[in-house]
Structure formats: structure tokens, C-alpha cells
């Protein structure tokens, strides 16, 4: 049989195959479902499973029980951990959002006017984002160092101002951790805001100018409403990213002094890798997932509907 003959013989069969599945999406998205199932869903399901056990890294036997959930959720440390997490995440979201928007506005305005330095500003902000969390933690540890040669305190001394216990005071350390995280995450918000600002129709501003609107009126009545979707999507993303951040904190403070900067992701790390408690870590991971999803749903409910756009 020649090649042409083989093709001719198989053609009706393959046509019927194609026709059968042409309207059915499942065969086409099945590879994606399999990949996501193996690499994303399975670990999540296993974390759910482990949270209903008493599994540890040390013991061989694991029984199914609700005791781990009860123990972790009634842990006296949890309220303090959640409060530290709330301050860290809430502060980071607000700070990164405001600073990211501010830098993006400056860059867009600068580009419109052809000012020198806008590219440098954009690149500088992006460098902070590229720096790995652990390296960022080390950088800020050096800046916040309370040794006589610590960077920020040395500047304060030069200005004849009192020094600050950046990391050793439990009341100040969370704010220091927050500053370092805002520094790191501002670039991401800037990128999102920059793209959204570029997408705003310039005729809106032209019309506003014709109507005599001031710059601040244009910002609050055109820019902000036009950025609503981008702001909310950005909030969802940076909330989830910050909630999962622990690498920068572990390097900066290790969660201390005491538990002053121990956020929930670092607590999970400590529970699993210091205490070898797999089930406890899983319970808290599920809690983190619920918090993330809950906040995402709240943010998403404020997203403009299709007919509002």
C-alpha cells in the first residue's frame, strides 16, 4: 500500500473522529487538566488530607483525627500570629498600592513630557522586585542594624536625631518588616498600574480639560475610577503574595523578637520544619488558603461588571 493509499483509507475515520470531538472542549483541555491536577491539585488535596491526620515528620503511623484541627485553631499563639499577619498584609497591600500607583503616575507623566530619568526610575523600582526575598532581607537587615555602624541609625546620628530600635523593639520590628516588604513589592504594583494608566482613553482627559477640571479632579474622577479593575486585581494578587511571604522575614528578624514578626507563613514553616508537625502545618496552610480565597472573593465582588464598563 502506498502512502497516499494509506492516507486515503484513514481519512474518513479521522474525519469522523474530528467531527465527534469538534464541539466537545474536554478532549482539548484534558492535557491541561492532567498537568494542573498532578502539579497543583494533588498537593492541595494532600494538604487537606494531612490536616485531618496526626502526621508528623518523625512518626510512621498516622491516624485520621480532628484533633490536629482543634489543637491548632485553639492554640494560644494563633491570635497573635494572625494579628501580626493582618498588620503585615494589610500594611503591605495599602503601601504597595499607593506607592506603586504614585511611581506609575510619575513615570507615565514623565514619559508624556519626555523627561529625562523616567526609565531610570522605572528600572530602579523593578530592581527591588527582582532581588530574591532572602537577599532583600539581608539588605534591610544591614540597613536596620542597630550596631554602632548600622546604616539608617548612622544617618540619624549624623542628623543629630535619636536612633531607632528598628528590629529589637517588638513594637517597631513589625513596621520595619513592613517597610522592607513594601520596598520589595512596590514594583509589581507599579507595573500593573502603569499598564492600566496607559490603557486609559486620553480623550477623557481632553474632555475634562475642556470642562475646566483641575489636575486633582481629573485624578480622582477619571484616573481612579478607570483604574478600579486594575486596583482590585492588584489587591488580590499582592494580598496572596504577601500572605505567602516568609523568606524576607526569616532573614530579617526570624520572626522575632519573641513572636513580634512571626506571620502565619513563617509559623507554618516553623511548625513543619522545627516542630516536625505535618498535620499542624497542613491545618494552618488550609487556613491560609481560606483567608486568601475569602479576601479574593471580597475584592472580586467590587470588580466592575461587564455592563458597567
Amino acid at each position: 500500500m502506498t502512502l497516499i493509499a494509506i492516507e486515503a483509507a484513514s481519512r474518513p475515520h479521522s474525519r469522523s473522529f474530528m467531527r465527534r470531538f469538534a464541539g466537545a472542549p474536554l478532549p482539548w483541555i484534558m492535557p491541561v487538566i492532567i498537568v494542573i491536577g498532578i502539579f497543583y491539585l494533588y498537593p492541595v488535596i494532600d494538604v487537606f488530607r494531612l490536616s485531618f491526620t496526626n502526621a508528623t515528620l518523625i512518626g510512621d503511623n498516622q491516624d485520621y483525627t480532628l484533633a490536629s484541627i482543634a489543637n491548632m485553631l485553639s492554640s494560644p499563639q494563633l491570635p497573635d500570629i494572625l494579628w501580626a499577619t493582618f498588620v503585615f498584609v494589610g500594611g503591605s497591600v495599602i503601601g504597595q498600592q499607593i506607592l506603586g500607583l504614585a511611581v506609575a503616575v510619575v513615570v507615565v507623566r514623565g514619559e508624556k513630557r519626555g523627561l529625562f530619568g523616567t526609565t531610570i526610575l522605572r528600572t530602579t523600582a523593578l530592581i527591588a522586585w527582582v532581588v530574591p526575598g532572602i537577599a532583600g532581607g539581608i539588605i534591610w537587615q544591614m540597613l536596620f542594624s542597630e550596631a554602632p555602624y548600622g546604616a539608617l541609625n548612622s544617618i540619624l546620628r549624623l542628623m543629630h536625631l535619636p536612633t531607632v530600635a528598628w528590629l529589637s523593639d517588638p513594637a517597631i520590628a513589625p513596621w520595619s518588616a513592613l517597610i522592607s516588604n513594601i520596598w520589595r513589592g512596590t514594583a509589581f504594583s507599579m507595573v500593573v498600574m502603569y499598564a492600566a494608566l496607559k490603557a486609559i482613553d486620553s480623550s477623557l482627559y481632553e474632555a475634562a480639560e475642556v470642562d475646566g477640571a483641575t489636575g486633582s479632579q481629573q485624578f480622582f474622577f477619571i484616573t481612579i475610577p478607570q483604574l478600579r479593575a486594575a486596583i482590585l486585581v492588584n489587591m488580590i494578587l499582592i494580598t496572596i503574595m504577601t500572605l505567602n511571604t516568609f523568606d524576607a522575614i526569616i532573614t530579617l528578624t526570624g520572626g522575632g523578637p519573641g513572636r513580634a514578626t512571626e506571620v502565619i507563613s513563617l509559623y507554618v514553616f516553623n511548625i513543619v520544619f522545627r516542630n516536625y508537625d505535618l498535620s499542624g502545618g497542613s491545618v494552618l496552610s488550609v487556613l491560609m488558603l481560606i483567608i486568601s480565597l475569602g479576601l479574593a472573593v471580597v475584592y472580586a465582588s467590587f470588580l466592575p461588571k461587564e455592563d458597567e464598563r
Partner: protein, 432 residues
């Protein structure tokens, strides 16, 4: 024929006339031995290996490994290296060992050895070390590597200890007691220094360095069954005494409050190099680091002495170190791993890195340990105490770190912090 002769000549020249070229063949970044060697041993190591950041030490290890593999030409070593996050690395390796995926031969930190022992994942090294070698080990080392069936489960090849470093030009006499140290710290502050420095951040070293004070009082962290006892009875009193001592150092100004941010021995070296401190609690290995960092004149001012005790007679110091262990079920691989521990680490590795040996006789075998400083360190090992080989120890350490931060920063009073730490430890103990 002529071409074959030339090729053979070139090959023989490369193999026999150029050891350096041969060594390069035998050692790559992740392999020691010939690529086509029939047997493979996977080896996972810390920076005590050709992966050391110090080029001289890295080259020294590479030579030791190449010499070793030349004695075992049928083998190649597939090298893996751990990150600096030791706690996480060891926890991951334990999980791998339980799943049967651990390397054949690996570095296990001495203070987590018990976690591996209770999981029965370590091969038996007993047949590969002579009774004399075992008898020559310091007692705390021998106890640390022996399981309840008296089998040797790892080879603990180096140890260390903590001492008080001081700048003689500012603190001429070695403080003997806790009171002496407080006075010396306050005197150094008057000289413009920032007082006594020590680790007190969220870091294993903070616990370990402080424990010397608790052990000097005779305190115990766990009982013989491994159950935490530090928050009960006499142990509680001793614990509070040792904790209050540290708090008093900070409250009085003999130590700066910033100790709660020190979680790295390098920070102590940095302060010494910057000339901002005259006293710090550090490890024996820091003497060589200070020598490398400071100007000779400045280094001449520095010396060390045992950590002061509550009285001059009550002394203790924490001793740690690394072991080599095998996770393999293949007897040939277990033997090869034991050989590696003996030939590379037990002696040559100690001398290369000037890390204290775990066998008394090795102090006399190497010139580097004949220095006055190393002799003093060796003598101080008599007061050495290792961390308890109990699975709950990492959580006890974690709770002590939290407690230290709370007490020294003034968030909690010592007894309140101790009660909270003990309660959390017992909750964790029940879950294990």
C-alpha cells in the same frame, strides 16, 4: 599503527605523567571519580567539602576526595550540597529517608541525629569502626552516635565549643563568674564599647550559647525518656536563674538590647572588626576568623577564656559538630560511606578546617592542634555538653528563642515567658 602508538603515548602521558590533569578528570563540580566507574555512591554534604566558599579549604577537600577515590577506583561519588538553611535541609532529608529516597551517604547535624535514629533510617556503622577508634571518642560523642541497641549509627567527626572572647586592652582579666562578666561589660561600656554581645535572635545558636549557663547550674532540658522537664521543679528554678542572668545583663546595660537581633556568629566578628565591642560569646572556630579579619596588632589584643559560670567552679559549654551517616541498605555502600568518614573526615578534615576532632588521640597527630589555643580548646571540652538527643529538642530550642526575645525585649517577665515556652513545648511533645 603509528596513529595508535601516538594515541597510546598521549593517553599514558596524561594518566601517569600529569597527576594534575588526572585529578581534574576525577573531580568535577558534582562528581568525584571516573564517569564510567561501575559503582556509585550519592553523597550529600555541607560546606565541609569541595563546596566550601574558602578556595583553600575547597581545594584541600578536593584533594582529600580525589586521594580517597584513587584508593577505590571502582567507585564514583555523586556529590550533592546542602544550602545554609540546615534545619530545613535536615528535615527534608529525614522525609526523604523515610520515603527511601535519601542519599547513600550524608552529613547529619549532631543535634538532629536522634530524629534519624528514632525513625530507624540510619545504617549500622558498627562493623566498620574498630573498638579502639570508638573507645578513643570523647564520651559525649560516643553516647551521641550510639543507639539503644549499642549500634554505631553515624560517625561524629568534628566538634566545637563556645568561649568568651575578650579584647585584653579593654578587659585585661578573664571574667570567672556571671558577676565578673557583668562588671566587665559595664566597664567596657564606659570605654565607649557596646558591652557584651551574644546571639539572642530567633536562631539555634541563641539557644545553644545560652544553654551553657543553664547547664552550669546542673539544669536538664529533658529526662531520660526524652520528655521535657525544664519547666518543672528544680530545673525550673535553675532555668529562671540562668534566664534572669541574661535579662540582668541587658537591663543593666552590660549588654545592648540589640542582642535580640544578633542571630549569626558573623555579626560578632563584624563588631570585633569594627572595634565596637570588647566581649562576646562565640565559637572556637571564630579565633581563626578573627585572625584572618583583624590586623595582626589588633588580633594580638584578642584572647578567649571559658564562659563564666554562676561561680568560678560551675562551668559548662555547648559542644556541637557534624556526623557522617549512611541511609543505604546496600552493605557495600554503607562500608564505602564509613570509609569516607574515616579517611576524609576523621583527622584530615579536622586538620584542614582546624575543627576540633572527636577523638583524643587526633589532637596529638596534627600540628595544627598543637597550638596553645587549640590545646586550650581541647582542655575546655572537659566541660562540654551536647544538646540532648531527643526528638523534641528542635521545638525546645524554638521556644527558648521566642522566650529569649520576649524577656530581653521586656515584653514578658522571665517566669511568664518560661511557663509559656514550657506549655507550648509540652503541647508539641504530645503531638510528636
Amino acid at each position: 599503527m603509528k596513529r595508535a602508538f601516538v594515541s597510546a603515548l598521549a593517553l599514558s602521558t596524561m594518566l601517569f605523567s600529569s597527576p594534575a590533569a588526572f585529578a581534574q578528570e576525577l573531580a568535577t563540580k558534582d562528581r568525584i571519580g571516573l564517569t564510567n566507574a561501575p559503582k556509585t555512591l550519592t553523597v550529600r554534604l555541607t560546606n565541609d567539602s569541595p563546596n566550601n566558599p574558602d578556595p583553600a579549604i575547597a581545594q584541600g577537600y578536593q584533594k582529600l576526595f580525589v586521594d580517597f577515590i584513587k584508593k577505590h577506583p571502582d567507585w564514583k561519588l555523586q556529590m550533592q550540597f546542602m544550602s545554609a538553611d540546615i534545619g530545613t535541609e535536615q528535615a527534608k532529608m529525614l522525609e526523604q529517608a523515610k520515603a527511601g529516597n535519601a542519599p547513600d551517604c550524608a552529613a547529619v547535624d549532631s543535634f538532629v541525629l536522634s530524629q534519624f535514629m528514632v525513625n530507624h533510617v540510619l545504617a549500622d556503622f558498627t562493623p566498620y569502626f574498630s573498638k579502639d577508634e570508638v573507645a578513643d571518642l570523647f564520651p559525649f560523642i560516643r553516647n551521641g552516635i550510639t543507639d539503644k541497641d549499642q549500634a554505631i549509627r553515624a560517625w561524629w567527626w568534628d566538634t566545637d565549643l563556645r568561649v568568651l572572647y575578650r579584647n585584653k586592652s579593654i578587659v585585661p582579666d578573664a571574667p570567672q563568674t556571671w558577676d565578673d562578666l557583668k562588671k566587665a561589660g559595664l566597664a567596657s561600656v564606659k570605654e565607649g564599647m557596646e558591652g557584651i554581645l551574644f546571639n539572642a535572635a530567633r536562631y539555634e545558636g541563641s539557644t545553644f550559647d545560652w544553654l551553657a549557663n543553664y547547664w552550669a547550674l546542673g539544669g536538664k532540658l529533658v529526662d531520660d525518656s526524652g520528655k521535657p522537664v525544664f519547666g518543672e521543679g528544680e530545673n525550673k528554678e535553675k532555668f529562671l536563674k540562668a534566664l534572669t542572668y541574661y535579662k540582668d545583663l541587658v537591663d543593666s546595660g552590660a549588654a545592648p538590647k540589640r542582642v535580640t537581633t544578633i542571630g549569626n556568629y558573623d555579626d560578632l566578628n563584624a563588631a570585633a572588626a569594627a572595634g565596637t565591642t570588647a566581649l562576646f560569646i562565640g565559637g572556637n572556630w571564630q579565633l581563626a576568623q578573627l585572625k584572618a579579619t583583624l590586623d595582626p596588632d589588633e588580633f594580638a589584643n584578642w584572647t578567649f577564656s571559658p564562659i563564666p559560670g554562676p561561680t568560678a567552679d560551675q562551668r559548662s559549654t555547648g559542644t556541637g559538630g557534624w556526623t557522617i551517616a549512611s541511609f543505604s541498605k546496600d552493605k557495600d555502600k554503607v562500608e564505602m560511606c564509613a570509609n569516607l568518614a574515616r579517611d576524609i573526615y576523621m583527622g584530615p578534615g579536622n586538620a584542614l578546617q582546624q575543627q576540633l576532632p572527636t577523638r583524643k588521640s587526633l589532637f596529638d597527630r596534627y600540628d595544627v592542634f598543637a597550638t596553645e589555643a587549640n590545646k586550650t580548646f581541647a582542655e575546655a571540652l572537659a566541660n562540654g555538653q551536647a544538646r540532648p538527643g531527643a526528638p523534641i529538642y528542635p521545638e525546645i530550642s524554638n521556644q527558648i528563642q521566642i522566650m529569649m526575645g520576649d524577656v530581653l525585649s521586656g515584653t514578658k517577665q522571665p517566669e511568664e515567658a518560661l511557663n509559656a515556652a514550657f506549655k507550648a513545648t509540652m503541647e508539641a511533645y504530645k503531638r510528636l
